[in-house]
């Protein structure tokens, strides 16, 4: 009898994880075997041809007909379809958008991986920005939630605070999709364990390394590549490492600029980052994880049109986190983490006689402990946090016409926030549930003269269920933010200075309210929502005149404070199941500010006040699940700016006179992204995807900033002022090959 070897590997079609213990039955002799811990099975067949069935609890059975020897098969089991619908296994219920008191947007690993991949990868921040009330702007770092500024969002990456979540000026996020377990965005009703920001909390958790099997993922693309591996060191310890690097300037950007913008200078953009984690399953009640992140960005832009302007910007985040998860005998679950994170920012600009360099940064040590316990209908959380932050405001080294100057900013300063918090998630009745929380903060700035403050941040969310598919939710909270961020909004590039509340400038305070109506249809296939929000903010900060004020020596004299509010309404409709899935969201909101020393104390729109925000995303997966096509379209009102209205002559020189502050608006921003994903299997070794994508498919050069440049005519010996509009990202096609070791 000849050799009839047969081998198979079985895995979950959604999560791509191997299914250990899958039952494999050879029909002829009813021979039954189980796959090993890696989902693999090798078997010497008794007869060929034969039929082989694969079954696993909770998954559809699959039957294969094996017609030749030495066959290696890859089997993808799909989660069981109850009634007529497939059930996707995620860590949230399908109706959570209706039933949870909290207005949170949850994104599981499976959901993230099912999203269209642009530039070879799914992006968690881009995904969130398709939600109503969440905006991400090309060229501006971070996210903007319900009229809040970028600094008013707390971004927590495995319990480490991230100050700038963007790579390539927001084109990618710092969160590598390969290692994300899930992500949550709290647009309102922030859990009491988090606080200190006026707008939202974005919480990203990374996957715990698997002790079951080796995992290997690789992606090779035209724009960036990445690599991830998971190595079980023994049955209790596993390690995971992932790295990413971009090389946009190697091929794609020069090619696009040569084709479409031959007269423009090609900006240089690049980033690299790495994540690592080791987990220790000490016993059934204790898990220890240590994770690290390091990432760096480089951006350089030469603008010959603007008086030979050269810009170099570098920024980077570093984080190290230790986390201990402990379950007590009485089922108190305590998560204690110690994290160190650092953000550094370098900026250099040369223009005409100017050569300016500044380095700013912030680093922190954060200790947070949260205990959860369910008692009857209550889910109680309590704990403490101690956050120490060290700020480097950075002197400005300036060379004007070879003359060196230094604009000194305050020395490095340190602040400390000690917080105690408690929260109760309570199901009052079948229809009514609420979350009530309180966070008390003792803030001090250790290097200043006895500056301290105490703040109480209460929060309450109520959800009333009309039915299992309809609810109304309301939320109110008061927050105190002992952290300020001023931006060099006038310059072309995002250059930000973080500094703490002090005797010079107290904390920002805000009252946040929202109400929303949520309704699902057709057994949660369709999700709809309508909402309103209002946010009142005090003690906001802006530069008075200019980031570079040569004559105002005290940093705090260059800053001015004021108040503002944001309000608006949001609506969203989404179809979240089936081969064809789509979602659309629209919000209309205003974000206005009033500063005594700006705009003559009249209200003015914030730089990021962009009233209309609409997104449409559509994805279609073929029946065979081999192809997935997706499209994403976004339309956002243009960025505000102060229009130059006239020029006048004083002492032989020209002086600009601007119209009211931020009273003009750039043309609307809109963009279409397309992607196609083809999946196949390379023998039983790899789950392979080839990803085609086009960012900005109709190549609209959306305005990034507007500047006024005086051009001199040698013939007439006269100047003429020209308005220059500069865009950032043109059409960017990309192809990537992603491989997942089975």
């Amino acid at each position: 009898m000849g050799q009839r070897p047969f081998s198979a590997i079985v895995f979950d079609a959604e999560t791509r994880k191997p299914l250990a213990g899958t039952q494999v039955v050879f029909f002829t002799n009813n021979d039954v075997h189980l796959t090993d811990e890696n989902g693999k099975l090798s078997y010497e067949m008794k007869q060929i041809p034969d039929s082989v069935s694969f079954s696993f609890i909770g998954y559809k059975d699959t039957v294969l007909f094996v017609s030749k020897p030495s066959e290696k098969v890859v089997v993808r089991l799909h989660p069981i379809a109850y009634k007529t619908q497939e059930v996707v296994v995620t860590s949230k219920k399908n109706d959570e958008n209706v039933t949870l008191a909290r207005e949170e947007v949850f994104l599981s690993k499976a959901e993230l991986m099912s999203l269209p991949a642009l530039m070879g990868e799914q992006d968690v921040i881009r995904s969130f920005s398709s939600n109503a009330g969440v905006q991400q702007f090309e060229g501006m770092q971070g996210i903007y939630v319900r009229g809040g500024s970028q600094d008013q969002n707390l971004i927590v990456f495995d319990e480490a605070i991230v100050y700038n979540p963007s790579h390539l000026l927001g084109f990618f996020s710092v969160f590598n999709p390969d290692i994300i377990e899930n992500a949550r965005l709290y647009k309102s009703g922030v859990p009491a364990k988090y606080g200190g920001r006026l707008s939202s909390v974005l919480q990203i958790s990374t996957q715990k390394p698997s002790t079951d099997h080796v995992e290997f993922d690789a992606s090779l693309g035209l724009i960036s590549s990445r690599l991830k591996c998971n190595i079980p060191l023994n049955k209790k310890i596993a390690a995971q490492l992932s790295v990413r690097k971009s090389y946009l300037n190697t091929l794609v950007l020069p090619m696009v600029y040569t084709l479409f913008f031959p007269n423009d200078d090609v900006p240089h953009l690049g980033f690299s980052d790495a994540n690592g984690m080791i987990s220790f399953d000490l016993n059934s009640r204790n898990v220890l994880k240590v994770s690290a992140y390091v990432g760096n960005d480089n951006f350089a832009m030469t603008r010959k049109k603007i008086s030979s302007q050269d810009n170099i910007v570098r920024w980077g985040n570093t984080a190290l986190v230790g986390n201990w998860l402990h379950t007590s005998k009485h089922n108190f679950i305590t998560s204690t983490s110690v994290s160190y994170s650092k953000y550094k920012f370098y900026f250099n600009m040369t223009q005409d006689y100017y050569d300016l360099t500044t380095e700013t940064g912030i680093r922190n040590l954060d200790v947070r402990s949260v205990t959860n316990k369910r008692i009857a209908n209550n889910l109680i959380s309590f704990g403490f946090e101690n956050l120490t932050q060290q700020f480097k405001l950075g002197d400005i080294d300036l060379k004007i016409d070879s003359e060196k100057r230094k604009i000194e900013n305050p020395d490095e300063c340190v602040s400390n926030e000690f917080s105690l918090f408690a929260e109760d998630k309570l199901e009052l009745t079948d229809r009514l549930n609420l979350v009530a929380g309180l966070r008390g903060v003792l803030y001090s700035k250790s290097d200043s003269l006895d500056y301290w403050n105490v703040a109480l941040s209460p929060r309450l969310q109520v959800c009333y269920l009309f039915s299992s598919q309809a609810s109304v939710k309301a939320s109110i909270a008061h927050e105190t933010q002992n952290l300020h961020l001023v931006s060099m909004v006038s310059s072309a590039l995002p250059a930000d200075i973080w500094f703490p509340a002090s005797e010079h400038l107290g904390p920002e305070r805000g009252l946040l309210c929202s109400i929303g109506f949520f309704r699902n249809f057709s057994d949660n296939t369709y999700e709809t929502s309508l909402g309103l929000f209002y946010k009142r903010m005090n003690n906001l900060v802006e530069f008075k005149n200019s980031f570079l004020d040569l004559y105002t020596h005290n940093f705090y004299d260059r800053i001015t404070t004021g108040s503002g509010f944001a309000s608006g309404f949001e609506m969203a409709v989404a179809k979240k199941q089936g081969q064809l899935q789509w979602s659309t969201a629209y919000s209309f909101s205003r974000t206005l500010r009033k500063f005594a020393e700006l705009n003559e104390n009249y209200w003015y729109p914030a730089t990021f006040d962009r009233p209309h925000d609409a997104t449409v995303s559509v994805s279609y997966t073929t029946k065979s699940k081999k192809w997935q096509f997706a499209a994403y379209w976004v339309l956002i009102s243009g960025k505000t700016y102060s229009e130059l209205s006239e020029i006048y002559l004083i002492a032989g020189k020209l002086v600009h006179n601007y119209g009211p502050m931020n009273n003009s608006r750039m043309p609307a921003y809109h963009r279409l992204d397309l992607s196609a994903d083809y999946q196949w299997f390379i023998k039983d070794l790899f789950d392979a995807h080839i990803l085609f994508s086009i960012y900005n498919a109709y190549n609209r050069m959306n305005p990034y900033f507007i500047s006024y440049d005086a051009t001199f005519s040698e013939d007439s010996q006269t100047y003429k002022i020209a308005k220059e509009t500069t865009g950032l990202f043109p059409i960017l096609p990309s192809i990537s090959l992603n491989l997942h070791l089975l």
């Binding site: 004007i400 004020d549 004559y551 309000s567 009249y602 102060s642 020029i647 002559l649 009273n663 005519s713």
Partner: protein
Amino acid sequence: MIKRFVILIVSVLCLLSCKDDFTPPSKKASVVVEGYIETNQLAKVFLTFPFSLDDEIGESSYQNFINSYAKVVVSSETEREVLTFKKDDNLIPPYYYSSSLLVGEAGKTYRLEVIFRGDTITAVATIPQNEVEIDSIWCEPIENDSVHRNLYISFDKANPQAVSYYKFYTRTQSQKTFYPIKNSTLSDETYEPQITVGMHAGAENVVDTSTTSYFSLGDTVTIKAATIDAESGQFWLLYDNETEYNNPFSNGSNLPSNINGGLGVWTGMNSVRKQIVVQ
């Protein structure tokens, strides 16, 4: 419930969509004032119209923007004079209004009135009581340059009890008027007590890109050092910040004018002059 919710949203939307009337009305000024009342000097006021963004701007076009149709009056508690329109090709712009008798006196407050097309534009400036008492003037060699010199002056704070503002000018034997030095305005807020200032020669006009900051050996340089009133001092500091080197970080805010109803500045100056031959 849904209906009520939609009504609520529509109501809020209507409120939010109201006309954008929260910002101040656009201030397109009709008159730009650059006026000086200086100790022992006749009052001098340049009146111009602002340029639009479409205009070509240069010496040849300046005269198109001169306002020669206004009535300009300068008055103090004891004097009042209507200024007359004059021409001096050495100045930029070459047309200005000047007093014939009225000269500035230290410590006095002067009111400027510009009446144009039925509108009255006003400003007030006081000439500081204290003048700059220059202790010394000296030249320093420049590395790898044997023909030019840096010029410095030093002086004590004009008023030890308060913050004073200063403005500096130079004129060489070949120049027919004073030109502000580079970064010509100074606040003595952070100086204690002695102040040293480099007299880096400034550009002569908006299209002048050739002027060096240094003086040549043998140049006879007259330095004009003046204390100026605080309000115009703030204007001139920010003016230097914006214009001196085309500050690329200017953030779209306007200079704080002390002219009611117009743009520009009315400056009270208490000036002294000293001469040096560059060696």
